[in-house]
Protein backbone atom coordinates (compact mmCIF):
# COMPACT_ATOMS: atom_id res chain seq x y z
CA UNK A 1 0.00 0.00 0.00
CA UNK A 2 1.52 3.30 -1.03
CA UNK A 3 1.43 6.59 0.86
CA UNK A 4 -1.46 8.06 -1.14
CA UNK A 5 -3.61 4.98 -0.54
CA UNK A 6 -2.81 5.12 3.18
CA UNK A 7 -3.79 8.78 3.30
CA UNK A 8 -7.04 8.06 1.48
CA UNK A 9 -7.93 5.25 3.88
CA UNK A 10 -6.99 7.39 6.87
CA UNK A 11 -9.25 10.21 5.63
CA UNK A 12 -12.10 7.78 4.99
CA UNK A 13 -11.66 6.25 8.44
CA UNK A 14 -11.69 9.67 10.09
CA UNK A 15 -14.84 10.62 8.21
CA UNK A 16 -16.63 7.41 9.15
CA UNK A 17 -15.53 7.59 12.79
CA UNK A 18 -16.86 11.15 12.97
CA UNK A 19 -20.16 9.95 11.42
CA UNK A 20 -20.44 7.18 13.99
CA UNK A 21 -20.13 9.74 16.78
CA UNK A 22 -22.27 12.43 15.20
CA UNK A 23 -25.11 10.33 13.83
CA UNK A 24 -24.85 6.82 15.22
CA UNK A 25 -26.96 4.26 13.39
CA UNK A 26 -26.46 0.58 12.53
CA UNK A 27 -25.43 1.47 8.98
CA UNK A 28 -22.75 3.99 10.08
CA UNK A 29 -21.22 1.33 12.35
CA UNK A 30 -21.43 -1.24 9.56
CA UNK A 31 -19.73 1.14 7.11
CA UNK A 32 -16.91 1.77 9.57
CA UNK A 33 -16.60 -1.96 10.25
CA UNK A 34 -16.43 -2.59 6.52
CA UNK A 35 -13.37 -0.34 6.19
CA UNK A 36 -11.65 -2.19 9.02
CA UNK A 37 -12.51 -5.48 7.32
CA UNK A 38 -10.91 -4.21 4.11
CA UNK A 39 -7.82 -3.30 6.11
CA UNK A 40 -7.72 -6.78 7.65
CA UNK A 41 -8.17 -5.31 11.16
CA UNK A 42 -10.61 -7.91 12.45
CA UNK A 43 -10.12 -7.16 16.15
CA UNK A 44 -11.06 -3.54 15.48
CA UNK A 45 -14.07 -4.66 13.38
CA UNK A 46 -15.24 -6.73 16.33
CA UNK A 47 -14.90 -3.73 18.66
CA UNK A 48 -16.92 -1.55 16.27
CA UNK A 49 -19.63 -4.23 16.00
CA UNK A 50 -19.78 -4.57 19.79
CA UNK A 51 -19.95 -0.79 20.25
CA UNK A 52 -22.75 -0.65 17.70
CA UNK A 53 -24.63 -3.53 19.33
CA UNK A 54 -24.42 -1.76 22.68
CA UNK A 55 -26.45 1.06 21.11
CA UNK A 56 -28.56 -1.01 18.70
CA UNK A 57 -28.90 -4.48 20.22
CA UNK A 58 -31.62 -5.55 17.77
CA UNK A 59 -29.66 -4.73 14.61
CA UNK A 60 -29.30 -7.80 12.41
CA UNK A 61 -26.64 -6.12 10.28
CA UNK A 62 -24.47 -5.43 13.33
CA UNK A 63 -24.93 -9.01 14.52
CA UNK A 64 -23.82 -10.18 11.10
CA UNK A 65 -20.82 -7.85 11.25
CA UNK A 66 -19.89 -9.20 14.67
CA UNK A 67 -20.25 -12.79 13.55
CA UNK A 68 -18.21 -12.05 10.41
CA UNK A 69 -15.45 -10.43 12.49
CA UNK A 70 -15.43 -13.38 14.88
CA UNK A 71 -15.17 -15.77 11.96
CA UNK A 72 -12.33 -13.77 10.45
CA UNK A 73 -10.53 -13.75 13.80
CA UNK A 74 -10.91 -17.52 13.98
CA UNK A 75 -9.68 -17.77 10.40
CA UNK A 76 -6.57 -15.77 11.37
CA UNK A 77 -5.94 -18.17 14.26
CA UNK A 78 -6.42 -21.07 11.86
CA UNK A 79 -3.81 -19.62 9.49
CA UNK A 80 -1.34 -19.27 12.36
CA UNK A 81 -2.02 -22.81 13.55
CA UNK A 82 -1.68 -24.26 10.05
CA UNK A 83 1.94 -23.15 9.92
CA UNK A 84 2.64 -24.95 13.22
CA UNK A 85 1.13 -28.25 12.15
CA UNK A 86 4.04 -29.62 10.16
CA UNK A 87 6.31 -29.23 13.18
CA UNK A 88 3.82 -30.82 15.57
CA UNK A 89 5.10 -33.85 17.50
CA UNK A 90 1.70 -34.75 18.93
CA UNK A 91 -1.85 -34.57 17.57
CA UNK A 92 -2.92 -31.73 19.89
CA UNK A 93 -2.51 -28.87 17.34
CA UNK A 94 -4.59 -30.87 14.86
CA UNK A 95 -7.37 -31.21 17.45
CA UNK A 96 -7.29 -27.47 18.15
CA UNK A 97 -7.38 -26.66 14.46
CA UNK A 98 -10.22 -29.11 13.80
CA UNK A 99 -12.17 -27.61 16.70
CA UNK A 100 -11.71 -24.13 15.23
CA UNK A 101 -13.00 -25.33 11.87
CA UNK A 102 -15.91 -27.03 13.63
CA UNK A 103 -16.71 -23.75 15.36
CA UNK A 104 -16.71 -22.05 11.95
CA UNK A 105 -18.96 -24.77 10.57
CA UNK A 106 -16.44 -25.71 7.89
CA UNK A 107 -17.02 -29.46 7.92
CA UNK A 108 -14.84 -30.21 4.89
CA UNK A 109 -11.90 -28.51 6.59
CA UNK A 110 -12.50 -30.54 9.77
CA UNK A 111 -12.42 -33.67 7.67
CA UNK A 112 -9.19 -32.60 5.94
CA UNK A 113 -7.40 -31.79 9.21
CA UNK A 114 -8.57 -34.96 10.97
CA UNK A 115 -7.62 -37.18 8.04
CA UNK A 116 -4.17 -35.60 7.97
CA UNK A 117 -3.91 -36.15 11.73
CA UNK A 118 -4.93 -39.82 11.41
CA UNK A 119 -2.33 -40.34 8.67
CA UNK A 120 0.39 -39.04 11.00
CA UNK A 121 -1.01 -40.48 14.24
CA UNK A 122 -3.02 -43.58 13.29
CA UNK A 123 -3.95 -44.42 16.91
CA UNK A 124 -5.38 -41.01 17.68
CA UNK A 125 -8.94 -41.60 18.87
CA UNK A 126 -9.68 -37.89 19.37
CA UNK A 127 -9.35 -37.24 15.63
CA UNK A 128 -11.97 -39.94 14.98
CA UNK A 129 -14.24 -38.34 17.57
CA UNK A 130 -13.89 -34.94 15.89
CA UNK A 131 -14.51 -36.51 12.49
CA UNK A 132 -17.59 -38.21 13.90
CA UNK A 133 -18.89 -34.90 15.27
CA UNK A 134 -18.38 -33.25 11.86
CA UNK A 135 -20.17 -36.13 10.10
CA UNK A 136 -22.98 -35.94 12.67
CA UNK A 137 -23.44 -32.23 12.02
CA UNK A 138 -23.65 -32.96 8.32
CA UNK A 139 -26.02 -35.89 8.85
CA UNK A 140 -28.41 -34.05 11.15
CA UNK A 141 -28.42 -31.13 8.72
CA UNK A 142 -28.77 -32.98 5.41
CA UNK A 143 -29.99 -36.42 6.51
CA UNK A 144 -27.48 -38.04 4.11
CA UNK A 145 -27.04 -41.76 4.77
CA UNK A 146 -23.36 -41.66 3.82
CA UNK A 147 -22.49 -39.13 6.52
CA UNK A 148 -24.55 -40.97 9.12
CA UNK A 149 -22.80 -44.24 8.38
CA UNK A 150 -19.40 -42.51 8.47
CA UNK A 151 -20.24 -40.95 11.85
CA UNK A 152 -21.13 -44.35 13.25
CA UNK A 153 -17.91 -45.92 11.91
CA UNK A 154 -15.76 -43.18 13.43
CA UNK A 155 -17.52 -43.46 16.79
CA UNK A 156 -16.94 -47.22 16.82
CA UNK A 157 -13.31 -46.55 15.96
CA UNK A 158 -13.04 -44.25 19.01
CA UNK A 159 -14.24 -47.13 21.22
CA UNK A 160 -11.85 -49.58 19.56
CA UNK A 161 -8.86 -47.24 19.98
CA UNK A 162 -9.70 -46.68 23.66
CA UNK A 163 -10.55 -43.01 23.32
CA UNK A 164 -13.30 -41.16 25.17
CA UNK A 165 -15.57 -44.20 25.28
CA UNK A 166 -18.41 -42.59 27.22
CA UNK A 167 -18.65 -39.63 24.78
CA UNK A 168 -18.54 -41.95 21.77
CA UNK A 169 -21.13 -44.36 23.16
CA UNK A 170 -23.43 -41.50 24.15
CA UNK A 171 -23.30 -40.09 20.61
CA UNK A 172 -23.85 -43.61 19.23
CA UNK A 173 -26.89 -44.04 21.49
CA UNK A 174 -28.32 -40.69 20.38
CA UNK A 175 -27.67 -41.37 16.71
CA UNK A 176 -29.18 -44.86 16.91
CA UNK A 177 -32.20 -43.43 18.70
CA UNK A 178 -32.81 -40.79 16.02
CA UNK A 179 -32.61 -43.23 13.11
CA UNK A 180 -35.05 -45.62 14.80
CA UNK A 181 -32.79 -48.42 15.97
CA UNK A 182 -33.68 -50.23 19.19
CA UNK A 183 -31.04 -52.96 19.52
CA UNK A 184 -28.15 -50.53 19.13
CA UNK A 185 -29.66 -48.00 21.55
CA UNK A 186 -30.10 -50.66 24.23
CA UNK A 187 -26.58 -51.99 23.64
CA UNK A 188 -25.04 -48.54 24.03
CA UNK A 189 -27.16 -47.69 27.09
CA UNK A 190 -26.06 -50.96 28.74
CA UNK A 191 -22.41 -50.13 28.00
CA UNK A 192 -22.84 -46.60 29.36
CA UNK A 193 -24.41 -48.04 32.50
CA UNK A 194 -21.35 -50.28 32.88
CA UNK A 195 -19.14 -47.17 32.58
CA UNK A 196 -21.26 -45.40 35.21
CA UNK A 197 -22.37 -42.71 32.74
CA UNK A 198 -26.09 -43.36 32.88
CA UNK A 199 -28.41 -40.39 33.39
CA UNK A 200 -32.14 -39.84 33.42
CA UNK A 201 -32.32 -39.18 29.71
CA UNK A 202 -30.58 -42.41 28.80
CA UNK A 203 -32.79 -44.18 31.33
CA UNK A 204 -35.86 -42.60 29.72
CA UNK A 205 -34.66 -43.81 26.35
CA UNK A 206 -34.26 -47.38 27.63
CA UNK A 207 -37.61 -47.29 29.42
CA UNK A 208 -39.38 -46.04 26.32
CA UNK A 209 -37.98 -48.86 24.24
CA UNK A 210 -38.65 -51.47 26.91
CA UNK A 211 -36.28 -54.22 27.91
CA UNK A 212 -37.61 -56.67 25.31
CA UNK A 213 -37.38 -54.27 22.37
CA UNK A 214 -34.95 -54.76 19.57
CA UNK A 215 -33.86 -58.30 20.28
CA UNK A 216 -33.71 -59.02 16.56
CA UNK A 217 -30.92 -57.91 14.26
CA UNK A 218 -31.17 -54.48 12.66
CA UNK A 219 -29.74 -53.30 9.40
CA UNK A 220 -28.23 -49.94 10.33
CA UNK A 221 -27.45 -49.06 6.72
CA UNK A 222 -31.12 -49.61 5.82
CA UNK A 223 -32.21 -47.37 8.70
CA UNK A 224 -29.90 -44.59 7.49
CA UNK A 225 -31.25 -44.96 3.95
CA UNK A 226 -34.82 -44.83 5.29
CA UNK A 227 -34.03 -41.51 6.98
CA UNK A 228 -32.51 -40.17 3.77
CA UNK A 229 -35.39 -41.27 1.53
CA UNK A 230 -38.11 -40.10 3.93
CA UNK A 231 -36.31 -36.80 4.54
CA UNK A 232 -36.88 -36.96 8.29
CA UNK A 233 -35.64 -38.69 11.39
CA UNK A 234 -37.44 -41.74 12.72
CA UNK A 235 -37.57 -40.33 16.25
CA UNK A 236 -37.46 -36.85 17.77
CA UNK A 237 -34.42 -36.10 19.97
CA UNK A 238 -34.65 -36.92 23.64
CA UNK A 239 -31.18 -36.04 24.77
CA UNK A 240 -30.16 -32.69 26.11
CA UNK A 241 -26.85 -32.72 24.27
CA UNK A 242 -28.52 -32.87 20.89
CA UNK A 243 -30.69 -29.92 21.80
CA UNK A 244 -27.91 -27.80 23.22
CA UNK A 245 -25.55 -28.58 20.35
CA UNK A 246 -28.25 -27.37 17.96
CA UNK A 247 -27.76 -30.47 15.88
CA UNK A 248 -30.54 -31.96 13.87
CA UNK A 249 -34.11 -31.07 13.26
CA UNK A 250 -34.98 -30.85 16.91
CA UNK A 251 -35.66 -27.74 18.98
CA UNK A 252 -32.25 -26.32 18.03
CA UNK A 253 -32.44 -27.25 14.39
CA UNK A 254 -34.75 -26.33 11.58
CA UNK A 255 -37.77 -27.58 13.47
CA UNK A 256 -36.80 -25.33 16.31
CA UNK A 257 -36.42 -22.47 13.92
CA UNK A 258 -39.66 -23.13 12.16
CA UNK A 259 -41.59 -24.23 15.19
CA UNK A 260 -42.32 -27.66 16.58
CA UNK A 261 -42.49 -30.94 14.69
CA UNK A 262 -45.90 -29.97 13.32
CA UNK A 263 -44.58 -26.67 11.94
CA UNK A 264 -41.65 -28.45 10.36
CA UNK A 265 -44.07 -30.92 8.90
CA UNK A 266 -46.03 -28.04 7.37
CA UNK A 267 -42.89 -26.44 5.95
CA UNK A 268 -41.84 -29.77 4.49
CA UNK A 269 -45.29 -30.43 3.06
CA UNK A 270 -45.40 -26.98 1.41
CA UNK A 271 -41.93 -27.50 -0.01
CA UNK A 272 -42.90 -30.92 -1.35
CA UNK A 273 -46.01 -29.41 -2.97
CA UNK A 274 -43.88 -26.66 -4.53
CA UNK A 275 -41.31 -29.16 -5.83
CA UNK A 276 -44.08 -31.20 -7.45
CA UNK A 277 -45.45 -28.25 -9.44
CA UNK A 278 -44.86 -28.46 -13.15
CA UNK A 279 -41.61 -26.82 -14.15
CA UNK A 280 -40.20 -26.60 -10.61
CA UNK A 281 -36.85 -28.33 -10.29
CA UNK A 282 -35.70 -27.58 -6.73
CA UNK A 283 -37.19 -26.02 -3.62
CA UNK A 284 -35.64 -25.07 -0.30
CA UNK A 285 -36.40 -23.47 3.04
CA UNK A 286 -33.33 -22.04 4.78
CA UNK A 287 -33.07 -20.78 8.31
CA UNK A 288 -29.60 -19.75 9.45
CA UNK A 289 -27.14 -22.51 8.62
CA UNK A 290 -29.79 -25.17 8.15
CA UNK A 291 -31.78 -26.03 5.06
CA UNK A 292 -34.73 -28.21 4.16
CA UNK A 293 -34.71 -29.27 0.53
CA UNK A 294 -37.03 -30.95 -1.94
CA UNK A 295 -36.64 -31.80 -5.61
CA UNK A 296 -33.49 -32.57 -7.55
CA UNK A 297 -30.96 -31.68 -4.87
CA UNK A 298 -28.24 -34.22 -4.23
CA UNK A 299 -26.69 -32.91 -1.01
CA UNK A 300 -25.72 -29.78 0.93
CA UNK A 301 -23.02 -28.98 -1.64
CA UNK A 302 -25.61 -28.35 -4.34
CA UNK A 303 -24.81 -24.91 -5.83
CA UNK A 304 -28.52 -24.01 -5.65
CA UNK A 305 -28.31 -23.56 -1.87
CA UNK A 306 -25.24 -21.36 -2.20
CA UNK A 307 -26.81 -19.27 -4.97
CA UNK A 308 -30.00 -18.74 -2.95
CA UNK A 309 -28.04 -17.53 0.06
CA UNK A 310 -25.82 -15.28 -2.07
CA UNK A 311 -28.74 -13.79 -4.01
CA UNK A 312 -30.67 -13.05 -0.81
CA UNK A 313 -27.66 -11.53 0.95
CA UNK A 314 -26.47 -9.46 -2.03
CA UNK A 315 -30.02 -8.28 -2.81
CA UNK A 316 -30.58 -7.24 0.79
CA UNK A 317 -27.34 -5.28 0.77
CA UNK A 318 -28.08 -3.66 -2.59
CA UNK A 319 -31.67 -2.76 -1.65
CA UNK A 320 -30.60 -1.15 1.62
CA UNK A 321 -27.79 0.84 0.02
CA UNK A 322 -29.99 1.92 -2.89
CA UNK A 323 -32.44 3.23 -0.35
CA UNK A 324 -35.38 1.08 -1.44
CA UNK A 325 -35.81 -0.57 1.97
CA UNK A 326 -35.54 -4.23 2.90
CA UNK A 327 -35.33 -6.94 0.27
CA UNK A 328 -38.33 -9.26 0.39
CA UNK A 329 -38.54 -11.09 -2.94
CA UNK A 330 -36.31 -11.59 -5.93
CA UNK A 331 -36.36 -13.30 -9.31
CA UNK A 332 -33.30 -14.12 -11.40
CA UNK A 333 -33.66 -15.38 -14.97
CA UNK A 334 -30.69 -16.85 -16.76
CA UNK A 335 -29.02 -19.83 -18.38
CA UNK A 336 -30.08 -22.01 -15.43
CA UNK A 337 -33.79 -21.14 -15.75
CA UNK A 338 -35.56 -19.05 -13.16
CA UNK A 339 -34.74 -18.60 -9.49
CA UNK A 340 -37.41 -17.19 -7.16
CA UNK A 341 -36.33 -16.18 -3.66
CA UNK A 342 -38.38 -14.90 -0.75
CA UNK A 343 -36.66 -13.65 2.37
CA UNK A 344 -37.63 -12.27 5.74
CA UNK A 345 -35.04 -11.86 8.47
CA UNK A 346 -32.94 -15.00 8.52
CA UNK A 347 -35.66 -17.18 6.97
CA UNK A 348 -35.48 -17.84 3.24
CA UNK A 349 -37.48 -19.90 0.80
CA UNK A 350 -36.60 -20.39 -2.82
CA UNK A 351 -37.31 -22.44 -5.91
CA UNK A 352 -35.50 -23.06 -9.17
CA UNK A 353 -37.88 -23.53 -12.07
CA UNK A 354 -38.29 -23.16 -15.83
CA UNK A 355 -38.63 -19.61 -17.16
CA UNK A 356 -42.23 -20.26 -18.25
CA UNK A 357 -43.52 -20.92 -14.71
CA UNK A 358 -45.78 -18.21 -13.21
CA UNK A 359 -43.38 -16.31 -10.95
CA UNK A 360 -46.08 -14.33 -9.11
CA UNK A 361 -47.86 -17.48 -7.94
CA UNK A 362 -44.56 -19.04 -6.85
CA UNK A 363 -43.47 -15.89 -4.99
CA UNK A 364 -46.82 -15.74 -3.21
CA UNK A 365 -46.43 -19.35 -2.05
CA UNK A 366 -42.87 -18.76 -0.94
CA UNK A 367 -44.00 -15.70 1.00
CA UNK A 368 -46.72 -17.77 2.70
CA UNK A 369 -44.15 -20.41 3.58
CA UNK A 370 -41.70 -17.93 5.15
CA UNK A 371 -44.38 -15.93 6.92
CA UNK A 372 -46.06 -19.10 8.24
CA UNK A 373 -42.80 -20.45 9.65
CA UNK A 374 -42.03 -17.13 11.35
CA UNK A 375 -45.53 -16.80 12.81
CA UNK A 376 -45.25 -20.34 14.20
CA UNK A 377 -41.84 -19.58 15.71
CA UNK A 378 -43.08 -16.31 17.26
CA UNK A 379 -46.18 -18.01 18.65
CA UNK A 380 -44.07 -20.72 20.25
CA UNK A 381 -41.75 -18.17 21.89
CA UNK A 382 -44.61 -16.15 23.31
Amino acid sequence: MNLIQRLKIRTELKRLEARVHESPSPSTFVDLGQVYINLGMHERTLEVAEDGLALFPQSNELRKLKSFAQKKRLADRIDRMRSQLTKARDPQPYHELANLHLELGDLEAVQGVCEECIRRFPDDAEAHLLLARACLLGFYRDLGAREGTAAMEHLEQVVTLGGDESAARRLLAELSWRIGSSTEVLRQVTELERLGCIDKELTAMRDTLGADAGRGGEDMAALFHDVESRGRMARAPVLRELRTMGLGFGPGGVAGAAGGDNDLHEVRATLAALAEREGVVKATYIRGAKALVKGQIRDSRDPFLRVVRVVARASQRAARRMDVGNFSKGVVDGAFGRLCVCSFGEALAAVQCDVGVDEDALLAELQELVAGSLVAATGRKS
Partner: protein, 123 residues
Protein backbone atom coordinates in the same frame (compact mmCIF):
# COMPACT_ATOMS: atom_id res chain seq x y z
CA UNK B 1 -25.48 7.38 -29.06
CA UNK B 2 -25.66 8.44 -25.39
CA UNK B 3 -28.22 11.07 -26.30
CA UNK B 4 -30.42 8.46 -27.95
CA UNK B 5 -30.14 6.13 -24.95
CA UNK B 6 -30.91 9.07 -22.69
CA UNK B 7 -33.98 9.84 -24.78
CA UNK B 8 -35.16 6.22 -24.53
CA UNK B 9 -34.75 6.32 -20.77
CA UNK B 10 -36.66 9.59 -20.67
CA UNK B 11 -39.61 7.87 -22.35
CA UNK B 12 -39.52 5.16 -19.71
CA UNK B 13 -39.62 7.81 -17.00
CA UNK B 14 -43.04 8.93 -18.22
CA UNK B 15 -44.47 5.57 -17.21
CA UNK B 16 -46.48 5.43 -14.03
CA UNK B 17 -44.55 4.23 -10.96
CA UNK B 18 -41.13 4.49 -12.66
CA UNK B 19 -38.81 6.49 -10.41
CA UNK B 20 -35.52 6.15 -12.23
CA UNK B 21 -33.74 4.42 -15.08
CA UNK B 22 -30.14 3.99 -16.12
CA UNK B 23 -27.88 2.01 -18.42
CA UNK B 24 -24.64 0.73 -16.92
CA UNK B 25 -21.84 -1.50 -18.13
CA UNK B 26 -20.87 -4.83 -16.55
CA UNK B 27 -18.19 -3.16 -14.47
CA UNK B 28 -20.51 -0.50 -13.08
CA UNK B 29 -19.80 2.45 -15.36
CA UNK B 30 -22.85 4.59 -16.08
CA UNK B 31 -23.60 4.99 -19.80
CA UNK B 32 -26.76 7.07 -19.35
CA UNK B 33 -28.88 7.88 -16.38
CA UNK B 34 -32.24 9.35 -15.49
CA UNK B 35 -31.93 8.79 -11.79
CA UNK B 36 -33.39 11.54 -9.66
CA UNK B 37 -34.06 12.33 -6.02
CA UNK B 38 -32.55 9.92 -3.53
CA UNK B 39 -31.03 7.67 -6.20
CA UNK B 40 -27.41 8.44 -7.00
CA UNK B 41 -25.80 7.30 -10.27
CA UNK B 42 -22.62 5.90 -8.81
CA UNK B 43 -24.39 4.07 -6.00
CA UNK B 44 -26.97 2.41 -8.25
CA UNK B 45 -24.46 1.44 -10.94
CA UNK B 46 -21.88 0.19 -8.43
CA UNK B 47 -24.41 -1.89 -6.52
CA UNK B 48 -25.87 -3.34 -9.71
CA UNK B 49 -22.42 -4.41 -10.78
CA UNK B 50 -21.80 -5.92 -7.30
CA UNK B 51 -25.12 -7.76 -7.38
CA UNK B 52 -24.56 -9.28 -10.79
CA UNK B 53 -20.92 -10.17 -10.20
CA UNK B 54 -21.67 -11.84 -6.87
CA UNK B 55 -24.58 -13.83 -8.28
CA UNK B 56 -22.61 -14.93 -11.34
CA UNK B 57 -19.74 -16.12 -9.19
CA UNK B 58 -22.13 -18.12 -7.05
CA UNK B 59 -23.84 -19.65 -10.08
CA UNK B 60 -20.87 -21.41 -11.56
CA UNK B 61 -17.16 -21.28 -12.26
CA UNK B 62 -17.92 -21.71 -15.94
CA UNK B 63 -18.70 -18.52 -17.84
CA UNK B 64 -21.30 -20.23 -20.08
CA UNK B 65 -23.41 -21.06 -17.01
CA UNK B 66 -23.14 -17.57 -15.53
CA UNK B 67 -25.51 -15.89 -17.97
CA UNK B 68 -28.14 -13.71 -16.31
CA UNK B 69 -30.93 -12.21 -18.43
CA UNK B 70 -32.97 -10.41 -15.81
CA UNK B 71 -32.79 -9.71 -12.09
CA UNK B 72 -35.78 -8.35 -10.21
CA UNK B 73 -35.79 -7.21 -6.60
CA UNK B 74 -38.91 -6.41 -4.59
CA UNK B 75 -38.15 -4.32 -1.52
CA UNK B 76 -40.27 -2.51 1.07
CA UNK B 77 -39.93 0.92 -0.56
CA UNK B 78 -39.43 0.07 -4.19
CA UNK B 79 -38.68 -2.41 -6.93
CA UNK B 80 -35.57 -2.77 -9.00
CA UNK B 81 -35.38 -4.41 -12.38
CA UNK B 82 -32.08 -5.12 -14.08
CA UNK B 83 -32.27 -6.32 -17.67
CA UNK B 84 -29.42 -7.47 -19.89
CA UNK B 85 -29.22 -5.34 -23.04
CA UNK B 86 -26.26 -6.66 -25.01
CA UNK B 87 -23.05 -5.34 -23.55
CA UNK B 88 -24.78 -3.41 -20.77
CA UNK B 89 -27.63 -3.47 -18.26
CA UNK B 90 -30.82 -1.48 -18.21
CA UNK B 91 -31.81 -0.59 -14.64
CA UNK B 92 -35.34 0.50 -13.82
CA UNK B 93 -36.39 1.64 -10.36
CA UNK B 94 -40.07 1.85 -9.49
CA UNK B 95 -42.07 2.51 -6.36
CA UNK B 96 -43.21 -0.43 -4.26
CA UNK B 97 -46.74 -0.38 -5.69
CA UNK B 98 -45.70 -0.82 -9.32
CA UNK B 99 -47.16 -3.75 -11.23
CA UNK B 100 -44.10 -4.88 -13.12
CA UNK B 101 -46.06 -6.87 -15.69
CA UNK B 102 -47.70 -3.57 -16.70
CA UNK B 103 -44.36 -1.83 -17.21
CA UNK B 104 -42.60 -4.82 -18.79
CA UNK B 105 -43.63 -4.17 -22.43
CA UNK B 106 -42.19 -0.63 -22.21
CA UNK B 107 -39.01 -1.92 -20.54
CA UNK B 108 -38.62 -4.62 -23.21
CA UNK B 109 -39.09 -2.05 -25.95
CA UNK B 110 -36.55 0.36 -24.46
CA UNK B 111 -34.25 -2.59 -23.80
CA UNK B 112 -34.23 -3.66 -27.42
CA UNK B 113 -33.63 -0.07 -28.55
CA UNK B 114 -30.70 0.29 -26.16
CA UNK B 115 -29.35 -3.07 -27.30
CA UNK B 116 -29.37 -1.79 -30.88
CA UNK B 117 -27.71 1.46 -29.91
CA UNK B 118 -24.98 -0.30 -27.96
CA UNK B 119 -23.85 -2.19 -31.07
CA UNK B 120 -21.14 -0.60 -33.16
CA UNK B 121 -21.78 -0.91 -36.89
CA UNK B 122 -18.51 -1.81 -38.61
CA UNK B 123 -19.90 -2.36 -42.09
Amino acid sequence: MTNQIDQALGELMHRESVRGAAVVTDDGITVASRLVGRFRDEVVSGLTSFLLLTTRRALSDRESEQRIDRFTIHATHGKLLIQHVGGAWLIVLTDQFARLEGVMPAIDEVGSRVRGLMKIDVS
